[in-house]
Symmetry: none
DNA sequence: TATGAATGAGCTTTCATTCAT
DNA sequence: CATGAATGAAAGCTCATTCAT
């Protein structure tokens, strides 16, 4: 029982290398952008040398792309649970948006990948599509489904907002961008913001009595 | 009448140069980001050589900073007109948000500067503050003022949304980010989105009968 | 009569230009050496622009060469007066060396041209020869002539020093190099040094009683 | 025994590199001066490329400074042996000056560093001080000490020359400058010059019988 | 005559990539 | 596996020189 969870064996260490590199690459690329990041910086963060990086990834571009893929955690899966939600549609929508807040602006990985998508999307068109398929489309689809069901059930108003569900979720992006831009320099009161968002969105959607 | 509008004289050319350069720089920097843009690209866009750029701007960094300053058109001034708005607070808010849509996601300059702020804000902290002071703060302040007046007048509900006006305006940022990210690849139906936004926000804010 | 000696007329101004340029070039070239001096620096010192320099001198190299020629004042002429010296050979030698001190280490022009000869002689072999012909050879010849006459007259000892007159004059170069190297940071007591030089040289040369 | 003295191993090569570079830099910088030397010239002399130089030295300026430090061999140490000299003060002084001739004008390294001190001392003030502390000050101090002892012992005359020992040593600088300036184009008969120097200096210093 | 905008060749420095050890 | 010395292709910046005004 002694050696359990001790430092990894050489073999384990080796197996872990690629992931370590991708994680180090994430830190560097998100901090400085693709062009301004040097392969050596990534290596230095791991305490290895440039050559080692090239042992696992053939070029800086591939490193970037694989890092992006590795760090973008599946949001679709999370959304799968939406189907199991119970209660009023208002509460279901609230729960869904809460999930999105957790996964997008509050999750550093997702948030920083959004930055990369905006800054280096020109050079890596794939990541833009990926970002859309991974985050935007599923979220919008889930919101739309819920809103439509709520409308059918007579809980939500029919109207422009119901037809364009992005607008219901757009505050989420606002928080993400705010955090990317200001970090700790202008902290944002997350819970209060979310509360205001729910207040506005649900009042905006609910049938007027 | 003959020679009017011929090629500019030497003096005219010179007077125009700095602006031409700043505008070319805007195109290049926004297309590729600071690090990936070469001074020579900016020059080539104007049909001149690198050296010419350095005749007007001492370093690439200064070129970037002055470009940013030159291209960020005052939003505060636009907002000044808000005070003159008439009619219901709902309409006034609608007019205010429309102004913001025009000036932020629909104005290519502002939109692209937002991208730069996100991608190169780390290297140029000034532009982050500038962006905040120039766009975010005035807009939030204007929305807050209007909402508070609307609440006082009994037209708007008191509530979380009224206390956190960012949430009312956040869809604007959503459109900006969407356009930056997808450009023409996934066009966004602007008018429909705006309509949905107003529908949601005003229903969310108005006193329930 | 009032305006006599007032500011020069345009024609005079023009006629003076080349010299002004050469003098400005002297300041710049001696301060930074040939390679590190920019033509624009020379122009700026005169309050004109680069183009003006090229109106008078076709290239930077020619400017340098002509500057060198222009600033190297004839030492030979000065030495001509040596033939008229009277009195003991010791006194004549003293007078000759004093002339050399005035013309070489104490004359800023000559001193600085010595620096250029050492630093840029590789690129401009002419100036080395020029320096030799203009300063070294005449001085050594004059010293040699005087010493030989002094020996013939029985006033100076025959001996190694008399055969190699450079050694008699070498302290002069020492002062020049010292001043070039240390300028005002380690001032050299000129009169005391010269006195010591005469003391040593004359005692070294005079017949032992 | 076979492979001994074959091409150096990677490790040996690496250990040697910095010195190789400094020596190549010495050749280039002394031949053309700081400004006119290209880092690529230094590299080419070693058969490597520019990049290699920057692997060892961060900037051209640092390369120059470290080269200067590396090539200036301690003169002070040599002078330490002066204290052990025996015999007449004339002979001791002769021995001391001979040491100085060996170390300053006859040693190519020292001689060329003198050239750099004169040509690039403005840009690198440190090397001027270094040159003073390393060569000038110790030499003058040693001469002074010996002369003073010789005066105390009654062997040397009291007088101006004894008070200003630079003058006794100044011929040494003369030879250095001559060689820097004329190299092989006007060779200087070293031994004869030195003989003349001793003849003059000792006769100039010794008590007149 | 004088200007100064513009050029283009060249220099310093950087960095992705390779490869012998 | 890992290293890190070396490369070479840029990229930022400079400056002698030109030329339209």
């Amino acid at each position: 029982m002694a050696k359990t969870e001790k430092r990894p064996s050489r073999a384990e260490q080796k197996a872990r290398r690629p992931q370590e590199i991708l994680e180090a690459a994430f830190e560097e690329f998100t901090a400085k952008g693709y062009a301004a990041t040097r392969v050596e910086d990534v290596a230095a963060r791991l305490g290895v040398t440039k050559g080692t990086i090239y042992l696992y990834f053939p070029t800086k571009e591939v490193l970037f792309e694989e890092m992006f893929r590795h760090m973008s955690t599946p949001f679709k899966d999370v959304l799968a649970s939406v189907g199991t939600f119970q209660g009023s549609y208002a509460n279901r929508l609230r729960a869904l948006l809460l999930l999105a807040y957790e996964k997008i602006p509050n999750d550093r990985k997702t948030r920083e990948l959004l930055r990369l998508t905006l800054s280096d999307g020109t050079r890596f068109p794939d990541i833009v599509d990926r970002h859309f398929d991974e985050f935007i489309a599923p979220l919008v689809a889930a919101v739309r489904a819920l809103v439509e069901e709520g409308v059918s059930a007579g809980e939500f108003r029919r109207g422009a907002a119901a037809n364009y569900p992005d607008v219901v979720a757009s505050s989420i992006l606002h928080v993400a961008v705010w955090r990317l831009m200001f970090a700790d320099r202008r902290p944002l009161d997350g819970p209060a913001f979310i509360e205001a968002h729910f207040d506005l969105a649900l009042n905006g959607l609910l049938q007027r009595s």
